[in-house]
Amino acid sequence: MKQTDEADSRGYYRRMQSAIEELLILKGVFSGADVEREVKAMDSRNPGRGAKMVARAWVDPAYKARALHNGSAAAEELGFAVGPLRLIVLEDTPRVHNVIVCTLCSCYPRMLLGLPPEWYKSSNYRSRVVREPRTVLQEFGTRIPDDVEIRVHDSTADMRYMVLPLRPAGTEGLDEEQLAGLVTRDSLIGVAMAKAAAQA
């Protein structure tokens, strides 16, 4: 996807961000070490966390029920701190396919997936996935059958979302770690399915 709008303004906003950061450090609101610690914490978060939750939900129906009831608590149960935002886990079924977006900015379940991909922040994805979700998913190579309902979740306020994709067929013999290997970042956002067993 082409993203000239973001690319053009990036230099300007980056400079503004640096200037504000320097001012806040000078004013003693936080220190350079605080910034470094937060950057390290952010770098430690990656889609492997979401994948672990999905694999556990696939093998443990009671955990799945807890995750659907209270996503934040289910994340904490596996040792992933969620912070003040609330996590909602959206279950794909043979009848319903879920996909997430933030049309207003780029809200993303960073506590579980880390930094969002560039395309997630592009105005192309943000404006079109609510308008023509089937076409957008097709562009990701994901064809949703006509009789499956699509639910687009626009993350506009204090909730964060993660998709619980369908467990691929033929994975009965895999253990939890192998199953987690099938769960990609894109399948947690909902623009792709989990990988087939042979691709693990």
């Binding site: 609510v130 306020a157 909730m159």
Partner: protein, 100 residues
């Protein structure tokens, strides 16, 4: 003095609601594309300080109930050609909602 009590929820899950067709200035977190449209309360998310106030360094209290509202794609987009069950779900604060 403690924080004021959160506002009581006006709508229950399953209730039909309509988003106000308003265009206030400043920081707004109700997407343009759902304004004026009708949907159904999917769930109550809890109560949160109003982000339209927080954006200006005010306390945003009393906390506002936040809902997830489900809109049919065909309600949002007149020419929508996909499955009639396709839907968009959006988090919307109570002060943007009216009974439909």
């Amino acid at each position: 003095m403690g924080a004021p009590e959160p506002l009581p929820a006006r709508f229950a899950p399953g209730a039909r609601v309509q988003v106000r067709r308003a265009d206030p200035p400043g920081h707004v977190r109700t997407p343009w594309y759902c304004r004026g449209h009708a949907g159904v309360i999917e769930r109550i998310c809890g109560s949160f300080a109003n982000p339209e106030e927080l954006a200006y360094n005010r306390d945003g209290l009393p906390a506002q109930p936040l809902y997830r509202v489900r809109f049919s794609c065909r309600e949002l987009w007149q020419d929508y050609a996909g499955n009639a069950g396709d839907a968009v779900e959006i988090e919307i604060f109570q002060h943007w909602l009216e009974p439909a």
